[in-house]
Symmetry: C2
Subunit: 440 residues, 2 copies
């Protein structure tokens, strides 16, 4: 009888082992996709695409090229040798080639080109193929590094990962931007945030996090919004101040930039990413930041309760020019514009113990301290005309006792887009959802 | 101006440092929730609940106990000392206690009891509080370990994590168990699986994984089904056989059991978990397994094309009794019962190159090799009366060329439930969704 023992048959070598030169001079067999084919003076150069790198393969005249096209899956055998002009400094002198599968039609776009220069709509429609471009896929390796370093940072700080429902009976953020759903004849919604659930879990594990999709039925099309995105959320108990939350986010960013510098150097290079210095992140109060930016860039304040996108841009510019930082924490947002669970500042209850993090002029995080006292929470709901009875299962935790706590949510796609210098957040989402796009 | 530098103020010691005895004899300050209070002959024992452990605190007569109740958040200062009868072998002789917050009402259930013995419905309704019970929360630390070891295993094997949309234009699994949604006036669905997207991403990164919610509108209530669950999915290119996929799953299970044994020993003990031996996992063909179980347990085969739940139980029993394994791979499922993207066995196209993994008699994984050739895929769709035109963006990858590939999906809650010996999968989901339950 057959048994699995966890042994994976290493039929083929890893492409990165070859490009990193660890098998120089010995014959190796590797597998990959034919990314590009170039014929130059009787020699054929085949660029083999692996998961993280490409390998330049030089094909002998004896190898039959008739059957080979771009995006064939192939197995090649050859001897790696130093070649300074090849990507990674190594090329493979191929002695044998087997085609494992072949495409049915030529590619709709030449993905082996350095820049595709497609318009957004074409690019998104062709995403399943366009993502094979080295530049495109580099973005999502950066994104993977950001998400992994988020989890690593939090795991190292004794946070526990949780999985909370996305089909919910009430929205956490309120407002109209919530998707409705028929749930076996009952009205249900798609979660705008794991807010209620992560707070519930603070009572259980003290520190929790989740990286999961959230849904916002934004009825406008901007370069900053997605209707579905990945939210990196955490929530922590026993805080002394909402600054404890900001400190953990700073630690995450520090770890992320270190990880990207060491593990995603080639992707950062392909995208010409300038990894920001996050050793110190300046903090400005909401009011103060508004005024500083208005003064410096001569733009009058129109909405005293919120930051307009243009104001965020100007505050970002201010942070860069005056404070030398790509990031800036904006603290003490007006109570009016924050959700009902935000804790008001006892020193001035018109403001909250909350913050946003701006990165190069765009909000990438919202966080703050939450109300933990039952009566305080009920009173704030009543003062906003809300019915506490509709939030019975949420208020159960306040009634049962909660430590002082706070947390945040980071938009993974926005963070990725800012870091990679992408002007539209859709470019930082594999298969974005917007007003008009539901496919692929 | 204030700046964040990533320094977290360590006002309080970690509870685990105290329980593990690293601060014996020195005064420490710790924070936590009052899990239990017991008065015995003039001495008060306070059980302090931390994220991963509890600490027995002994309170002096001088400390005012009037204000202290269960589920107060407190800060206590004291000197740790050895006490064999205390959990972890250490207790804290408290010299000072500060209440940081207090509950508004007594708990609806006595969560400090070892066993709560609630009926399922009561337990789920009170989940936000019930999860504070040490036994209840142990389940989700095990779950965290499973999910983390899944990611660690795959990251170590050069898989890239992806995030794919949950609002989709077509279902991957077909059938009627799909949630419908109004998407700005268009018909949309909630993803039953990331199948199409992870296949698309095999063309990009060769090996990908995702741990994310999936949605199934199952219209029946069983102990095995959830309407929303966490699916741990991976997909890998350049396989020689679907057994390569099974080998990676075996590696994952081996890593998971090692991780749980070393990092979740106290949770495993609390739940009396017997970690299974996964050094070898037997494989049986679908037909063969059906017959072996039918014969041994005298239960005639009724449906030749699928495994009934009772048959899975019997095959699991057979695997345990005859093959000495809690797990068993069942391979070569009938083509009829597998989705349109499953690759048929060239040796006998009535069957597929696919598998399920049964764990103690319940399916916890479905996987297999997928069709990579464009024409083969189109033909199979047509033979099932499907319209290939409706799957244009999916078929784009087959047209553009795909390596031979396969993958699987693991139900995290089912795996957790089986491992923890929970008779209903709802117990292995923090806030389960079923026909009647949408809250909390």
């Amino acid at each position: 009888m057959k048994q699995m023992t966890g042994t994976c048959r290493p039929r083929a070598a890893k492409l990165t082992d070859v490009t990193q030169g660890s098998s120089q001079g010995q014959s190796v067999t590797v597998r990959g996709m034919v990314h590009a084919l170039h014929h130059m003076g009787g020699i054929t150069f085949l660029t083999l695409r692996g998961p993280k790198s490409v390998l330049q393969c030089v094909l002998d005249r004896e190898i039959d090229l008739q059957e080979i096209t771009e995006e064939c899956a192939v197995e090649v055998t050859g001897v790696p040798r130093k070649e300074p002009r090849a990507p990674g400094g190594t090329e493979l002198a191929v002695t044998a080639l087997t085609v494992l599968s072949r495409p049915a039609a030529p590619l709709p776009v030449p993905i082996s080109k350095r820049q595709l220069k497609l318009n957004l709509d074409t690019e998104l429609s062709l995403r399943p193929v366009v993502l094979r471009s080295l530049r495109e896929r580099a973005v999502f390796r950066i994104q993977e590094g950001l998400c992994r370093s988020f989890r690593e940072t939090l795991h190292g700080l004794d946070f526990t990962e949780i999985h909370t429902p996305k089909i919910v009976h009430a929205g956490a953020e309120g407002g109209s931007n919530i998707f409705r759903l028929d749930y076996f004849g009952r009205k249900a919604f798609l979660a705008q945030s794991p807010q209620f659930y992560k707070q519930m879990m603070v009572g259980v594990y003290e520190r929790v996090f989740e990286t999961a999709p959230v849904f916002r039925a934004e009825k406008h099309s901007t370069t900053r919004h997605l209707n579905e995105y990945t939210s990196m959320d955490f929530e922590m108990g026993f805080i002394d101040s909402f600054e404890d939350v900001m400190a953990v986010e700073t630690l995450f960013l520090q770890h992320a930039m270190e990880l990207l510098a060491s593990e995603c150097a080639s992707e950062a290079e392909a995208l010409a990413i300038d990894l920001p210095d996050v050793s110190r992140i300046p903090c400005l109060r909401f009011d103060e930041a508004k005024e500083l930016a208005a003064e410096k860039y001569h733009r009058p304040i129109r909405d005293p309760y919120d930051l307009e996108p243009e104001e965020e841009v100007n505050i970002g510019r201010y942070a860069k020019e005056e404070l030398g930082s790509d990031f800036v924490f904006i603290t003490h947002y007006p109570s009016k514009k924050r959700p009902f669970y935000a804790m008001d500042d006892p020193a001035d209850p018109k403001f909250t113990l909350s913050f946003d993090l701006l990165f190069r002029g765009m909000e990438v995080t919202t966080g703050g301290q939450r109300i933990h006292d039952y009566q305080t929470q009920v009173d704030k709901m009543l003062s906003r005309g809300m019915d506490p009875g509709a939030f019975e299962s949420y208020l159960m935790i306040h009634k049962a006792g909660m430590p002082p706590h706070g947390g945040l949510g980071i938009g993974l796609e926005r963070l990725t887009a800012r870091l990679c210098g992408l002007e539209n957040v859709r470019y930082a989402c594999l298969f974005p959802r917007d007003l008009s796009r539901l496919e692929p």
